[in-house]
């Protein structure tokens, strides 16, 4: 049974029909990527899963239990954490406070302190900046903080929305290898990316989204060699 499953999900912003019957599965331990052009509905899919934008039609299940009408803060308690598009770190809280905020649903002080260390291990740059305020970090550092903050909730499923956005090429490589490491420690990941090449290189499977519908799904390696994907998303003629 899939860990996370969407069945025929329709989401709306007011009367804008953003998701038109999305079905997808993410198995335990996988990295699944969602690629598509601007406005295809990738972020909307993540918002729908995390309960910020509940679907009007369709089902979402986490380990078999329905979560589609569960409010956002409860979804977090169930272990689905999101590093949202545009990072949305807390600008006036320090790096450490931001991380601790990520562990809001947890009460085990020792475990939280341990996880802060773990995040600092993944992103040493954040350790140098523990008392700096989030809003004054560089874009890349903010991205690290956003991912680190989501990890603080000990997610079973981590939703990443464009973790490479606005990063220098060296840093993109670094972030993707960290994502792989996070996955290797047992966290299931649903990854939304513009950078399809990188995303497919670390993912197990992928879905291609077009104006709110899934048009293609396959293993990552098959997608990489798919002609349509190459043309539209990998920039290969």
């Amino acid at each position: 049974m899939a860990l996370l499953e969407l069945k025929n999900v329709h989401s709306y912003y007011g009367n804008i029909h953003a998701l038109k019957g999305i079905s997808l599965t993410v198995d335990k331990g996988e990295i699944v990527t969602l690629i598509g052009s601007n406005g295809a509905g990738k972020s909307t899919t993540l918002r729908t899963i995390s309960g910020i934008l509940p679907p009007r039609v369709g089902q979402i299940t986490l380990a078999g239990a329905r979560i589609d009408q569960v409010p956002a803060h409860k979804v977090v308690e169930l272990g689905v954490l999101q590093s949202p598009e545009g990072r949305r770190i807390f600008p006036r809280l320090t790096v450490r406070e931001n991380l601790e905020m990520g562990a809001f649903t947890r009460k085990d002080k020792a475990g939280i302190a341990e996880d802060v260390e773990r995040v600092f291990g993944l992103f040493p740059r954040l350790r140098e900046r523990t008392v700096q305020k989030g809003g004054t970090l560089s874009g890349g550092e903010q991205q690290m903080l956003a991912i680190g903050r989501a990890l603080m909730g000990r997610p079973t499923v981590l939703l990443l929305d464009e973790p490479s956005m606005g990063l220098a090429p060296v840093l993109v490589e670094q972030i993707f290898s960290i994502i792989k490491d996070i996955n290797a420690t047992g966290t299931t990941i649903l990854l939304v990316e513009q950078n399809a090449l990188m995303a497919l290189s670390i993912a197990h499977r992928g879905y291609v989204l077009q104006t709110g519908e899934i048009v293609l799904q396959d293993s990552a390696s098959n997608l990489q060699s798919n002609e349509m994907v190459q043309k539209a998303y990998l920039g290969i003629e």
């Binding site: 910020i52 809280l93 809001f104 305020k133 970090l137 560089s138 890349g140 909730g153």
Partner: protein, 511 residues
């Protein structure tokens, strides 16, 4: 050294202001205030590092202020006292009270200067102990030299209690509430209904009177409940829209109390509740029972010291409570919500609950304050709860430094005392000059000049100046100061960030 003298002069200016306005033995109170100012500022700003330096600078500042006090006390009694028709004290009295005022200023200055340099936490303990002592002796001084400030100080403290509550809503949770006076009114009317004979008088029965000690908590709960009720419809609103809606509530509630003077329920000609005067309309409800406590007399209006001490205790307890709240899970949720609502809910924070709790807790402070106010002034009158109350309390919060408790207290005292004590006293002074010099045309013209009419204008002016000169508030926390004065960030931080590989904004790096 020159800095200490400077501080002394500034403290002295405050003293002169008080002496000129009040005359008599007010120089003692002026000494108390000057000593506080001199000691606190000199301690914080001294160039020295040792306790000796602290004592020296505090002493110098206090002494400079003291000399100014003595001189201005002499001048005041020479030129103004007869002019306003007060009794002229003997020269010896003028001198000895002046010297006593100066001595108070010096001792306080030196003590606070010394306290500043005690090691570690003992420094703040000592400072608080001295402040506590001043808070303790002030009402006795006020009473014995017939200063007559106590009633106004108590009202000011009630407003500070409100500001502490509003600080939760605006400062911690980031919800701009312009209708805070509504809950103040709800608290006062709850007290009026429960601990006066009013309802019984209207309906011809002897209603039970609920004790003050219970009523303040019922009033707080009532206001908290209305905080929830009024907060619920504002949940989806943010920023400007929230401000407008709360503004509306703030206007509606006092009007409802004003207009419930003909209250009754009649459906299809059947009178379920006979029409009667529920709230007393414009005249309000009075008298409200004062608290009863063995050994203390709250009913004696000429000695308000019990009210003062009870309120100081309540405020201390509130500060303790709010500090605990701030560090709690709820406090952290407020902070996250203030920063970014969506991100906060992605962290597992229940936005609905967090927001409503902020409204409810803020409102219950206001309700508590309202009940206390009602009992203190002995009645609930709709005119005490108009929009200006909401504005003044909001100004206390912002002027003091958003989210900063000592700032809120200092800012609140300054605003309340200026508004209710100093401005009316200036008016009184000018009027009595005019009265006692009716045959002098240039002076009798003062009769028509009433500075209290300009209070709103002055208030606005102060706000504009404050926001221009010190947008971070009177006592900002280091954080906000850095945020608002980015250009003055310390050079060390800038140098450090230049060694970084990629862009990092340096402006507000806090530590």
């Amino acid at each position: 050294m020159s800095r200490a003298i400077n501080i002394g002069v500034w403290a002295g200016v405050f003293g002169v202001f008080i002496i000129v306005l009040f005359g008599g033995q007010s120089v003692l109170a002026a000494g108390l205030i000057c000593g506080l100012l001199a000691g606190l500022l000199a301690g914080a700003r001294t160039e020295g590092e040792t306790m000796q330096a602290g004592v020296r600078d505090g002493l110098i500042s206090g002494a400079v202020a003291g000399v100014i006090l003595i001189v201005s006390n002499i001048l005041r009694n020479t030129f103004i006292t007869t002019l306003v028709g007060q009794n002229l004290p003997s020269t010896g009295e003028v001198l000895s009270f002046g010297i006593a005022g100066a001595a108070i200023s010096m001792v306080l200055g030196a003590a606070l200067g010394a306290a500043h340099f005690l090691p570690g936490r003992r420094s703040s303990y000592a400072t608080w102990a001295i402040l506590g002592l001043v808070i303790l002796i002030y009402p006795f001084l006020d009473y014995s030299i017939q200063l007559g400030w106590l009633g106004i100080v108590i009202t000011g403290l009630i407003f500070i209690l409100l500001a502490l509550g509003l600080n939760i809503v605006v400062g911690y949770a980031g919800l701009l509430d312009l209708g805070y006076a509504a809950f103040f009114a709800i608290g006062a009317y709850t007290a009026a209904f429960l601990s006066s004979s009013y309802i019984g008088d209207q309906l011809n029965f002897a209603n039970p009177r609920v004790s003050f000690w219970l009523v303040i908590f019922i009033a707080a709960a009532m206001a908290g409940l209305f905080g929830l009720i009024l907060g619920a419809p504002t949940l989806p609103l943010r920023g400007d829209y929230l401000a407008i809606v709360t503004l509306g509530f703030g206007e509606i509630v006092p009007i409802v109390f004003r207009n419930l003077d003909t209250f009754g329920i009649t459906i299809f000609g059947h009178e379920f509740i006979k029409t009667f005067n529920l709230t007393g309309g414009e005249l309000g409800i009075s008298p409200i029972d004062p608290p009863k406590l063995p050994g203390l007399n709250f009913a004696d209006r000429s000695d308000q010291r019990p009210w003062y001490f009870l309120l100081v205790l309540i405020i201390l307890f509130s500060i303790f409570l709010i500090n605990r709240l701030r560090g709690s899970r709820l406090g952290r949720a407020w902070m996250a919500m203030r920063e970014d609502e969506l991100a906060a809910s992605s962290m597992g924070i229940n936005i609905v609950r967090t927001k409503l709790l902020a409204f409810a807790m803020g409102a219950s402070f206001s309700g508590f304050g309202g009940a206390y106010f009602g009992a203190f002034v002995g009645g609930a009158f709709p005119s005490s709860f108009d929009f200006s109350v909401s504005v003044i309390v909001l100004c206390m919060v912002i002027l003091g430094g958003l989210g900063n408790i000592p700032g809120v207290i200092v800012g609140g005292l300054i605003i309340e005392l200026s508004d209710r004590l100093f401005l009316p006293q200036i008016t009184l002074l000018l009027q009595s000059i005019a009265q006692h010099n009716a045959n002098n045309p240039s002076l009798s013209g003062l009769q028509r000049f009433d500075p209290t009419l300009y209070r709103t204008g002055l208030f606005g002016l102060v706000l504009v100046l404050m926001m221009q000169l010190r947008p971070e508030g009177l006592l900002p926390n280091a954080r906000r100061k850095l945020e608002l004065h980015a250009d003055q960030a310390s050079p060390g931080e800038a140098a450090q960030s230049q060694t970084d590989l990629y862009d990092v904004e340096t402006e507000a790096a806090s530590s």
